[in-house]
Symmetry: C2
Subunit: 120 residues, 2 copies
């Protein structure tokens, strides 16, 4: 079952700004920006950021605003940035947000945990 | 009496994004960006955007996040963008937001009303 996403031309700046205006959601964007752009991450890989319930809520907020794509894969959900759609709608905007988001402490901690889990 | 403002190094991206993630507050930024950067606007000039009570609320939200400066002048309040502080903290960010905000219909309507009021 696919989840509802706004079309590219339905994405509005106030909705995107409001979706990004939160520590956890900004950290999700930071993690995605530092991951492979095509494969993205599955939600479980973002569990270091917050509780599972909170993560579901924050991922839905970002999806509804048009910031990320969420694709169910069996019991998992794969998350990718809607970089092309956002760059077309608001040129340069996402890059300036990412430039600040990738250095958030939460992003570093989560990606380090992820790296260590892969090595175990 | 001066109003509390965060110092430049206390301004955080999530707070700025959350403050800007609203139609009316984005329109305030659009109006300020199209006005004189030094003199800004007095709150009364933004009344076309929303009711006076709402305007007071939205201006406070932007001030508390560090997006605008609010200086009392007698019974009026003069509002200016904290462009230098924001550009130093998040290079390029404000420009990309303004590029989208200045074209908002609310901004056009408000500035036209303002222009007509000056001519009367």
């Amino acid at each position: 079952m696919s989840l509802p996403h706004p079309d590219a031309d339905q994405i509005t700046l106030p909705a995107v700004l409001a979706a990004l205006g939160d520590d956890t959601r900004l950290a999700i964007i930071g993690c995605l920006a530092r991951s492979d752009a095509i494969t993205g991450l599955v939600c479980g890989q973002l569990c270091g950021l917050t509780s599972k319930t909170n993560l579901t809520y924050h991922v839905a907020k970002l999806r509804e605003a048009g910031v990320i794509n969420v694709r169910p894969e069996g019991t998992r959900r794969r998350v990718t940035l809607r970089r092309e759609d956002l760059d077309n709608r608001f040129p340069g905007f996402l890059d300036t947000v990412i430039a600040s988001a990738i250095d958030l402490p939460l992003v570093d901690i989560t990606l380090r945990q992820l790296h260590e889990a892969v090595q175990d």
